[in-house]
């Protein structure tokens, strides 16, 4: 086989691989949009209607409880996680910690990143049992926050590392304290920090394993912080397992809602990052 034939074969192979991935992605989105979009179009109110008493059996009412559950769990978790992630990432910069220490923390973060979310769920369940409390919205927030933390920290840390060193030098040269300098560096890294925020939120809102046995898989509207709740991914699992065809069809509608939220957030983060990139020294990143 001569060099040019080998090049052509390689060209075909990479294109096939790319097409396969894009194809599968389109298929996933297509199925969700066609089946879920269809169900939603037929009755859009199911997103905003609380579940009936026998929702899981007969499909009466809608799944507002899971929509709210997702918002009430992932919203606060993202805020808590983001504050912790940005703080950790700033701490990992050279002004605050030695290189050796930050390497060690980074390795630890990699382990956390690679830990299956079901393990976090199990960990939080242990706390629930040890404290003699019960599964609730609160423990869902805890579990999701722990799950999001390494993701957001990694993104923020990378963004801060990529921010120009001279921003730090300039602020210090003006008499800024480390805190003031860090604030400016985070601003300089804003596009990357926003990407981390959105990725953390998207992963958090889409995860089922962490909340599966920490929130309680409730079929009623969430009543309070220490009441059982459910989220969309867990609901989708429950709906898809249902004997009732209508409930099963709701799984696609819920999946559609999740997909649209995540896509919308990614678009929003692109727009926001673009706005901040104008201010970033060295142009758009």
């Amino acid at each position: 086989m001569n060099r040019y034939t080998r090049q052509r074969l390689f060209g075909i192979a990479v294109r096939a691989a790319a097409s396969l991935v894009v194809g599968v992605l389109l298929l996933v989105i297509g199925v969700t949009v066609i089946r879920g979009g269809g169900v939603l179009l037929a009755d859009p109110s199911i997103v905003l209607t609380p579940p009936g008493a026998r929702y899981m059996l007969e499909g009466t009412g809608g799944f507002l409880h899971a929509v709210l559950g997702s918002i009430f769990i992932v919203g606060p978790a993202t805020v808590v996680s983001m504050v912790a992630a940005v703080s950790t990432a700033v701490y990992l910069q050279s002004d605050y910690s030695s290189e050796r220490f930050s390497d060690a923390v980074n390795m630890f973060l990699n382990v956390l990143w690679g830990t299956p979310p079901i393990v976090y769920g199990l960990f939080v369940l242990t706390i629930i049992i040890a404290t003699g409390t019960q599964t609730s919205l609160f423990f869902g927030i805890v579990a999701i926050a722990i799950f999001q933390y390494p993701i957001m920290t990694r993104y923020t840390d990378e963004a801060l590392r990529a921010a120009p060193e001279t921003v730090r030098e300039s602020t210090y040269g003006l008499g800024a304290t480390r805190f003031e300098s860090a604030r400016m560096t985070v601003r300089a890294a804003a596009p990357g920090v926003i990407a981390g925020l959105v990725m953390g939120f998207a992963r958090g809102i889409g995860d089922a394993a962490t909340v599966l046995f920490t929130t309680g898989r409730s079929t009623r509207m969430p009543g309070g912080l220490f009441d059982a709740a459910t989220t969309l991914p867990v609901l989708i699992f429950d709906q898809a397992m249902s004997f009732n065809a209508e409930v099963r069809s709701h799984a696609y509608a819920a999946a559609f809602v999740l997909t649209v939220v995540v896509l919308g957030l990614i678009v929003l983060s692109k727009l926001l990052a673009g706005r901040y990139a104008r201010y970033t020294p060295g142009g758009n990143r």
Partner: protein
């Protein structure tokens, strides 16, 4: 303020990382008031290291050991209870790479004033921002777009913005690290012009590898070579009657060598200063 606001006393800076390097070796220099002192020397001779040690900028780095002292108006910069940010505020620093902070043009200049609380009202802040932008000849170019991102200016404008930003906190001394080396000739000239205008009012220390720039701007010249001061003198004596053999070599003679003994590209052109002083005559 005394006549010599800034002095170094047997100042040594050693990088103590994987390989120990003494970048600055027992340097004692006086930086007179309202004077522009240039520190010249080939690349890697310790110029920037020396500059950053003057206002404790090395504090933010690991593995840097500093011996000897720097005196600001007679008081130690290192052996003191004054927090480092207060020292850096009095000894301002403009980095080599023109860097706009990721905020608007206005906020770039206002930044230092805001962190130090150096203004009474919004009107006062506005006035100060305008004053310092005028000082660096940037006001007319940006007056109608103060809210635009600082990063959208040209590199020459950004460097002048950096100077304005540093002046706004009213430092006693201004350290400039090769502030024209990243600029095109026209922008470099505008920054030089600004420094020329400022030097009667401020004590400026300018690091440069450009002999021609030193000739054009300096009142005093310090020649640093492998971390040691070879010669320091007023600009005329330095260039017209250099005392040390190495200075003569560096000013016009054969290629100097760097720390490892490899030849360093000559950064100086023979003394042809006079008529039209173009900035790019030796900017590589």
């Amino acid at each position: 303020m005394t006549d010599i606001p800034l002095t170094t006393d047997q100042l040594s800076v050693t990088y103590t990382g994987d390989r120990e390097i003494e970048a600055v070796k027992g340097v004692s220099i006086d930086f007179p008031a309202n004077t522009l002192t240039t520190i010249i020397g080939p690349s890697g001779c310790g110029k920037s290291t020396l500059l950053k040690s003057l206002n404790r900028l090395h504090d933010i780095q690991e593995n840097v050991e500093i011996n000897g002292d720097v005196l600001l108006s007679g008081e130690s910069v290192y052996d003191t209870d004054v927090p480092a940010p207060e020292i850096r505020r009095r000894i301002g620093y403009v980095p080599q790479t023109p860097t706009a902070l990721p905020v608007s043009i206005y906020e770039n200049v206002a930044y230092g004033l805001r962190i130090h609380g150096d203004y009474d009202s919004k009107a006062d802040l506005d006035e100060k921002v305008e004053t310092y932008l005028r000082k660096v000849n940037l006001w007319d170019e940006v007056a109608d777009r103060l809210d635009a991102p600082g990063a959208e200016l040209s590199t020459g404008q950004i460097q002048r913005l950096c100077v304005a930003r540093s002046l706004a906190v009213e430092p006693d001394v201004l350290l400039c690290d090769e502030v024209t080396s990243a600029l095109d000739p026209v922008s470099a000239e505008s920054v030089e012009e600004t420094l020329r205008e400022l030097k009667s009012e401020y004590t400026i220390v300018l690091v440069t590898h450009s002999m021609a720039q030193a000739r054009r701007l300096a009142d005093e010249v310090v020649f640093l070579y492998l971390g040691e001061v070879i010669e320091s003198n007023d600009v005329r004596s330095f260039f017209e009657d250099p005392q040390a053999e190495r200075t003569r070599t560096f000013i016009g003679g054969p290629t100097p060598v760097d720390r490892d003994g490899t030849p360093v590209e000559p950064t100086a052109t023979p003394p042809t200063h006079g008529g039209g002083s173009t900035v790019d005559d030796d900017e590589r």
